[in-house]
Structure formats: C-alpha cells, structure tokens
C-alpha cells in the first residue's frame, strides 16, 4: 500500500517533483553552476529520477522498497554514471550525498497532501520506507565516491613507488639505486626487485645503493639493506652502500646492526671511484683550454 | 598462479615455501598429501599439506631458525612462514601435522 502511493506520486508529478528537487538542491548550494551547465544538471537529475521511479514501480508488487533487490540495478548504474561524472568535475563526496538526499523533502510534502489524514499509518510507513531507500542510495553514492578515490590513491601510490626507486645506469656495468624518503617494507621489497632485475638487464657488476636521501635508518631499514646486498651478491654482483651520514653511522652502531661483509662508503662519489677502480676503469678529467 | 597473472617473485616465494613444507612431510611425516585450492576472487592460492607422522612436540622450537631434529638446516619451517602470505601449522603428537599456507598473486 505505502509503496503504491510513492509510485503514484513519482509517476504523476514528475515535472513538479523534478522542479522541487532542483530547488532544494539550489537552496543547499548544490547546483555548482561553476562545474555544470543547467542543462547537464537537469539531465543528471532526470536520469536519476527516472531510474528511481522505475525501481519504485517494480517494487509495488512486494510493497517493499528493498534497495538491495534486483529491480534497483538500473538505479545503481545511473547513480554510478552520475557520481563518476560529478566527482570527476570536482564535486565532493558530501555534496554528492546531499544531492541525492535533496529529493526527500519535496516527496514527503507531496505524500502529506496526497495521503489523507485518517491514514496516518500508511503515511508513516511510506515515509519510513522512502527514507530507508534514499538513505541507502546516498550511502551507495558515498561508497562510489570513496572507491573512486581509493582507486586514484592506489594508482598514485604505484606511480610514486616506481618514481621513488629508479635504477640508473651510471657507467658500463655500474648501476646506482638512489633511495629517497622513507623505506617501508613494501618499498624495500620493490627496491630489491628493481635492483636485482637491473643486474640482469643492465649487466651490472656493481650496484651502488645510495641512501643519502633516506630520512631515518632503523633496524628494519638496515636489515633490508643488508638483505638486498646479500641477494645482489648471490647473483654474482656486488653492492656498495653509499651516503651513510655520520648520524646514520652512529645510529647503526647503536642499534647493533651488523653490516658485516657489506661495503659502505660515505658518499656516492667515493662509491663510484671505488667501482671504477674495481672495474679497472680510468676516468681522466681534462681542464678545458 | 600463472592463471592469476602472478609476478615471478610471488610465484617463486610460494612454490619454495610449499617445497619446504612438502619435503618436511616426506622426511618427518613419512609421506604427505597436498591439496591446492585457487581462490579467484581474492587472487590467492591456498595449499594444505597433511601427514600422519609423529607430529611436532615443540612448535616454537621447530619454527625457530636453525633447529633441526634431523640433518637439515632447520630453516624450512620458519622460512616458509616468512615466504607465505598466510601460514598456519596444526600438529598433534602421535597424530600428524597439517600445514596450511597461502600466497597472493
């Protein structure tokens, strides 16, 4: 019974409700003329309205607005389209949720004037069900916004990860891995993978891991460096760790880190000189005349 | 894992871990049964390795690096735990041992 009322109202008063939805949006400052033309905003509103109306119509039989039911698939699809379009242009998650919620009050107004007063229970049921429906729709758009954002964050993380652990070929058979920032275990894993594949790809005999740009070296970071050096050696190349500042040297000793067999140098420059010596490469500098 | 499009390193880690566990099942458990289950939704491969051997008396000791009751290196169990993305041992002295491990693609 209650759903039938909502269906009738949505069906009969489309124009009026669309207009009212539009004005509630306007009152709450959700129109964003800066981002959308009036026409675009109207198309989106209509699209959602019609999808909603279709879902309600399909629910008349069961007399229950179950937002999880199959008949709301179209609604979910329409919402996904609109949400994606709006967030892409810079609409916030909260605005997007409010955009959906703004349909509630105009519809309640219409319900009140349509259902006669003696039928209080029907009215309350209708309000309850519709509230539940619209709330879950607005929750769904929030979820969509968040998952879009998560995707962006994940993509950026991956890009940063690649940016943050490049392997550069310095010379024949010498590569350097300049590390910058913090070295968590995920990045450490990435660094190790990149370093080891560079030994194969670049035919490197010497890998200089430069930690000048690493903010702090704790036991874990030191452990990662030692393990990377061990893996480099297993592959038949040699690792030199450079850029160990006095402060980091001090911490490493205090932490009792056993750098054992690893070669360390204070600067990338020293490490490179070392590598040249080892590979019997002479670099002669000439002063320009 | 190939079907899940796993990177070489992920594959190598899991297969090595399984190799350690299976070998233990053969050597200490007197033969082992391996079940492999591929969970596509989470892109995870689950592996169960069961034997009806003597079981493990002291789990913490068996897991510690360097302990072996035989002539191994004693790095298999602890190493497999580090290599797998999920790891669990159930063992009952006199009944047998079941190791369950998983690797994400």
């Amino acid at each position: 019974m209650p759903v039938r009322y909502i269906h009738v109202i949505l069906d009969n008063e489309r124009e009026l409700l669309l207009k009212a939805w539009g004005s509630t949006q306007a009152e709450e400052g959700l129109i964003r003329r800066d981002l959308f033309t009036e026409r675009e905003a109207r198309t989106q509103t209509e699209m959602l309205y019609d999808a909603l109306s279709k879902g309600v119509k399909a629910s008349v039989e069961t007399d229950l607005l179950d937002p999880d039911a199959e008949c709301w698939d179209d609604m979910r699809a329409a919402l996904a389209d609109v949400t994606r379009e709006r967030t892409k242009r810079g609409v916030s998650t909260a605005e997007m949720a409010a955009f959906v919620l703004a349909l509630k009050y105009p519809l309640f107004e219409r319900l009140r004037t349509t259902v006669d007063d003696s039928n209080g229970k029907v009215l309350i049921d209708a309000v309850n069900q519709f509230t539940r429906l619209i709330d879950s729709v607005s929750l769904y758009t929030t979820e969509l916004c968040i998952s879009e954002r998560d995707k962006t964050i994940r993509r950026q993380q991956e890009e940063m990860m690649e940016l943050a652990s490049p392997v550069v070929e310095l010379w024949d058979r010498i590569v350097a891995v300049p590390l910058v920032g913090t070295l968590d275990s995920m990045r450490a894993q990435e660094v190790m993978e990149n370093t080891l594949s560079a030994i194969v790809d670049k035919k490197a005999d010497i890998v200089i891991i430069d930690i000048t740009g690493v903010l702090t070296v704790d036991t874990q970071v030191a452990q990662h460096l030692i393990r990377t050096a061990a893996a480099v050696r297993l592959m038949g190349a040699e690792a030199i760790i450079s850029g160990i500042s006095p402060r980091i040297a001090q911490t490493m000793v205090q932490l009792g880190v056993d750098t054992g067999e690893i070669r360390t140098r204070s600067s990338l420059r020293m490490a490179l000189a070392d590598a040249f010596r080892q590979l019997d490469t002479d670099v002669i500098s000439r002063i320009a005349k | 894992m190939d079907a899940l499009g796993a990177k070489v390193i992920r594959k190598t880690r899991l297969v090595t871990a399984v190799s350690e566990i299976f070998r233990n099942g053969l050597i200490y458990g007197g033969g082992a049964l391996v079940l492999i289950h591929c969970h596509n939704a989470t892109r995870t491969v689950w592996i169960d390795c069961c034997d009806d051997g003597p079981g493990i008396e002291d789990m913490a000791l068996a897991l510690s690096d360097g302990y072996t009751s035989g002539s191994g290196l004693g790095r298999g169990l602890g190493g497999a735990k580090r290599l797998a993305d999920a790891f669990e041992v159930l063992s009952e002295p006199g009944i047998g041992t079941q190791v369950r491990l998983a690797g994400r693609a």
Partner: protein, 110 residues
C-alpha cells in the same frame, strides 16, 4: 671442460636423487680431469629451497677442498630474494653473474 675449468650446468628438471648423485660424481670428475676451477650454473633453476641450497653449498665446498675454486653463476633474481628470505646467503660460496664472468675471475686468480 674448457681450459681445465669444469662447467656443471644444473638441469631444470633435476630431482633430489640426481642432485645427490651429482655430489658423489663431482669429486671424482674434478680429480679425473685435474680441474683447476668449477663453475656451477643454476640459471635453469626456478626454485631453490633449503635442501637444494645446501647441496649447492656442499658442491662448492667439495670444489674448494679439492683446490678447485668454485663459482656459482646464473642465479635468478626471484631465487636470490627467496634464498635471502630463507636466511641462506651462502657466504662461503663465490658467485659470478655468468659463465664468462666466472671464467675471467678464475683466470685472474690463478
């Protein structure tokens, strides 16, 4: 055998008993051929667990005892990472990137 250097290429499909048998054969071969150096190529191995790792270390140990410096070559990146995670860094084993690299080092050390 090239130039008194013995090459041991481990096959991709090698099984546990083969690799144990290889251990038995190595000493004899080194002796019979008067090998001055050994190169063990494991580029075909996709997986090296602690059992195989230990045998490789022992092969190298045999070489060293018989006065034939032994190099391990061709370890794949994923294998190296995994071995390190297992705590097997093979500190006593000499390594080189590939056969040629190992031969150069062997000649230089003579």
């Amino acid at each position: 055998m090239v130039d008194e250097i013995m090459l041991v290429a481990i096959d991709e499909n090698i099984n546990d008993s083969d690799i144990v048998a290889l251990q038995d054969r190595l000493a004899e071969e080194v002796h019979a051929n008067n090998a001055q150096g050994i190169v063990i190529d494991i580029s075909a191995l996709e997986i090296v667990d602690t059992f195989v790792g230990r045998i490789i270390a022992q092969l190298a140990g045999i070489g060293v005892l018989m006065d034939a410096p032994t190099y391990l070559v061709g370890m794949r990146p994923a294998v190296a990472m995994t071995l390190v995670e297992l705590g097997m860094t093979l500190p006593a084993v000499k390594t080189a990137r590939n056969l040629q690299h190992a031969v150069t080092r062997l000649r230089a050390s003579r």
